[in-house]
Point group: C2
Chain length 155, copies 2
């Protein structure tokens, strides 16, 4: 969650996805202080989301490319777009739209269940302990399982 | 973006989705200070993500329910789960799994393009100005359109 937890991270990931990859360009687009941007970029490199590349030697200038993990994080950022479009801007009032590079058709992200292909309705979900649910904290585990059973009962 | 921008918000939304809705329960599960939790909950109520309900009068105790907008935000939170499962825990090492309340089948969230049903590959996307792209800032607009055209060229 930390990867997406900072206000700036999704915005930086989004700009890199859109092709804004150089420090100075990122700074201009995001309207962010140089220190904060440098700090956030270093963290994203540490986390394996971005790779730093020297694109000019004198003076040294860097650009930032999404890694494979970064492109996976970008999927999550893309999944947030319809939320903003619906609740903040409204249909026909989107500031930005995304398109497929080959077909040039507009892309409309939706979160579906891979097993059924149906859009996910959070009201229809319940959560249960996975194989690596922390085993050490028995009280916490018991309480979670109680919730789990309560939620899993459709009544 | 602000809705999901704070580290705590997605975690609070997730707990409410899982049925952890009372102040004291949220505090225990999230291991968060009461002041910070109260502040975050008030903000989420302001933003229309949560609704506060009195469930006990003496002493007054409140629970928090996701609104329609809140359930839409929860979709985005759910979309983040595979990222954590793949990059932080690994297959077979997930701390939590989600299931469908009716079929009890495991749900695997994936972000697809609603038009094609195909999983979204961020490498295949480019962004363009939408109908409400800020018209006031012409320099910014021109630069964005330049990026847009550069990215939209598959060459």
């Amino acid at each position: 969650m930390d990867v997406l937890g900072d206000w700036w991270n999704p915005l930086i990931i989004r700009e890199c996805l859109y092709g804004v990859t150089r420090f100075d360009e990122l700074q201009g687009w995001l309207n962010i202080g140089r220190n904060i941007l440098a700090q956030r970029l270093a963290k994203l490199v540490d986390q394996g989301i971005l790779e730093r590349r020297l694109y000019q030697e004198r003076p040294p200038r860097y650009e930032y490319q999404l890694t494979e993990k970064g492109y996976d994080a970008a999927k999550v950022v893309i999944a947030t777009m319809p939320f903003g479009d619906e609740w903040m801007f409204g249909e026909g009032r989107e500031p930005i739209r995304i398109y497929d590079r080959e077909t040039h058709q507009r892309v409309r992200p939706v979160v579906v269940d891979a097993n059924t292909g149906e859009p996910i309705d959070p009201r229809q979900l319940y959560a249960g302990p996975g194989p690596a649910f922390p085993p050490v904290d028995d009280v916490r585990r018991r309480r979670f399982v109680e919730y789990y059973e309560r939620r899993s009962d459709p009544g």
